[in-house]
Amino acid sequence: MSCWETITAYGLRSIGVGERLLPKGEMTLCEHFTLIGSGLIWNLYFGVLALFFGFFLANALALAKASANPWLRKPAEWFIFVFRGSPLFIQFFLAYEAFVLLPRAGIDIPLGFITITVATSWLSKAWAGALIVLFLNTAAYAGEIFYGALNAVPKGDLEAADAYGMTGWTKFRKVVWPTMMRLAWPAYTNEAIFMFHATTLVYFSGFPAFQQKGDALYYATYFAAKTFNPFVAYPVIAVYFILLTLTVIGIFGMVNRRLNRHLPQSQRQRIRLRPQVIR
């Protein structure tokens, strides 16, 4: 099979398009790159959606945690504590067990004259169940980051806003929130990178892959198990994830430049790739 044929057959394998049987005989670099790259679709799906929805919940959590009202503060604190304090793979495992416990046929909700059946089986599938876990997890981490940034908003900015006569929502939207985002952004970039790395855990613990439709690590493990050679499959997935990280840094760097555009040139902080050799 030529490389182009492999790409057409397995390029979208992870979402069920193309050849059903995974390659058995010859496994060249082309097969590795194609199939692991096709698995990367799932990593992108989980990462992008969880980050997008998590961003909004994280903002709400940060504000709730900073609020003086204990009815808002305590739930936010507990939420952040639970999701930040437990390892992600345990969350996956427990969420999967909980979703499996739900009746497969759905839950009937009688509303007097009509009965609504809420379907629950989709929750135990990875595309929804794991996404919910990742969404809650990233919301908790990002919520704490935003909360920290909110606490670090300079007093001078707030006094300036007061001097302009801004109050309430206007003050928050024009002064507090942009500054909070600006301060939180480098740490949030970090969280986004971690998030994409965490997506590899989905099929690794808890959620099963149906019809061998898995993510990048799933296929990498498949190749490593079939060829008995982990030194090809895992570097391939590493290359993909380095590229993904560089993309994330690029996109978040653009947002960072926009958030910092009002600052004088010398004070601007750029998000740079600083490879950590020692950790």
Binding site: F81, R84, P87
Partner: protein
């Protein structure tokens, strides 16, 4: 905190607490056929509590450190401390 949790991933080859939880908890492994049913759920819940307690300890230390560091700073946190009269 992330570091404590990440210690688990050193152990995909080394047999740590989570390895034993998923191994002993399962009803059947490659080596043994345990006479008990699937206990993994309970093992993992116990682990969850263990990790949460660990987080509690580290969080209390970090909260104290944060309060100390933001004392007198010209930020929202420092201002809130000043208002509270601490």
């Amino acid at each position: 905190m992330i570091l404590i949790q990440a210690t688990r991933f050193c152990s995909l080859r080394i047999e740590d607490i989570v390895y034993w939880a998923s191994d002993l908890g399962g009803a059947k492994t490659s080596q043994y056929d345990y006479p008990h049913p699937d206990w993994r759920l309970w093992y993992f819940i116990a682990l969850l509590i263990f990790y949460l307690l660990l987080t509690r300890v580290s969080e209390s230390v970090l909260t104290r450190l944060t309060a100390r560091l933001s004392h007198g700073q010209a930020t929202m946190a420092g201002e809130a401390q000043r208002r509270a009269g601490r």
